[in-house]
Symmetry: C2
Subunit: 176 residues, 2 copies
């Protein structure tokens, strides 16, 4: 056993991912994960989400939507989640392929028609469409980068959550 002092490619701890992959391969139930966020309303359109022991994620709306503009709003948070998820995907898949990333920026944009949210028409109140534009600096060939991109798009948890209809149950707890 040796202790490596070599800098990790892309600062990614690929061993941890490989260990998890091997653990799941030998015991598929290890792949079943549950994630949580506990939200507390704080009056007006402000709320905060508690995730594990991290500082609460605050949320608000812009003034035009009746908020105090003290934090990003929920639809912006969703776009951030997509961009952050894609960043993990590029870092993981590039490292697995031996590709060094020099820089990675992802501009995420979503179009939303407010009419359904405002009760002016029934139907889809969510994003009409979302676009993520990936700016990637690397010495890899265009073919390698396209292969990397294909792998990321094919395995993104947040990306696939947006692309597919997700069984989503929203229910009032019984009693007070």
């Amino acid at each position: 056993m040796t202790t490596s002092t070599t800098a990790l490619l892309n600062d990614v701890d690929l061993d941890a991912v490989t260990d998890l992959t091997n653990a799941v391969r030998s015991n598929p139930t290890a792949a079943s994960t549950v994630w949580r966020a506990d939200v507390t309303w704080q009056g007006g359109f402000q709320s905060s989400a508690q995730i594990r022991a991290f500082p609460a994620v605050h949320s608000d709306e812009p003034p035009a939507l009746g908020g105090n503009d003290s934090a990003p709003n929920p639809v912006e948070q969703l776009l951030a989640a997509l961009g952050n998820c894609l960043a993990v995907g590029y870092a993981a898949n590039a490292t697995a392929r031996g590709i060094e990333l020099t820089n990675l920026r992802i501009a995420v944009k979503g179009d939303l028609d407010l009419r359904s949210f405002l009760g002016l028409r029934p139907g889809h109140a969510g994003f009409q469409g979302i676009t993520a534009t990936v700016h990637l600096d690397s010495d890899a060939t265009p073919e390698q980068l396209q292969d990397l991109h294909h792998a990321v798009v094919g395995s993104s948890p947040v990306g696939h959550t947006l692309l597919a209809p997700i069984p989503t149950s929203i229910h009032l707890a019984a009693g007070r």
Copy 2:
């Protein structure tokens, strides 16, 4: 014109929402909004999302997934976005109905099978299902609360984004 010193019901600025609703009613194109998040990779599985001029939203993964555990991960951020969006929905729709909310908590939970993310099988890498359990304290009748709940679920931008397949384009920018 009078200046009201009355406390706002639920601290919600309903006038702002009403103004926006009226503006959209007379000019539907005012309902077309665009939202953005700009993500910068920071090495490893860490990144941060810039939304307007707010402090960047940091993102990381737990150690078992190869991260440094310095922040909620992207799938947790997505669940937080749903809970925060529902909180806005309950506050807005309750206020419009004259219902006072005393307390509102929303526990959001999502099940995710990591096999597709880890490249062990093709197919859906997103959430298998998401559950939001709403704990609501109010003096309103059960019927009023069910009507409120129905209105919220029927108009939630993040909720509908999860329930429907969203056209999502993820593309590499040309050049370097």
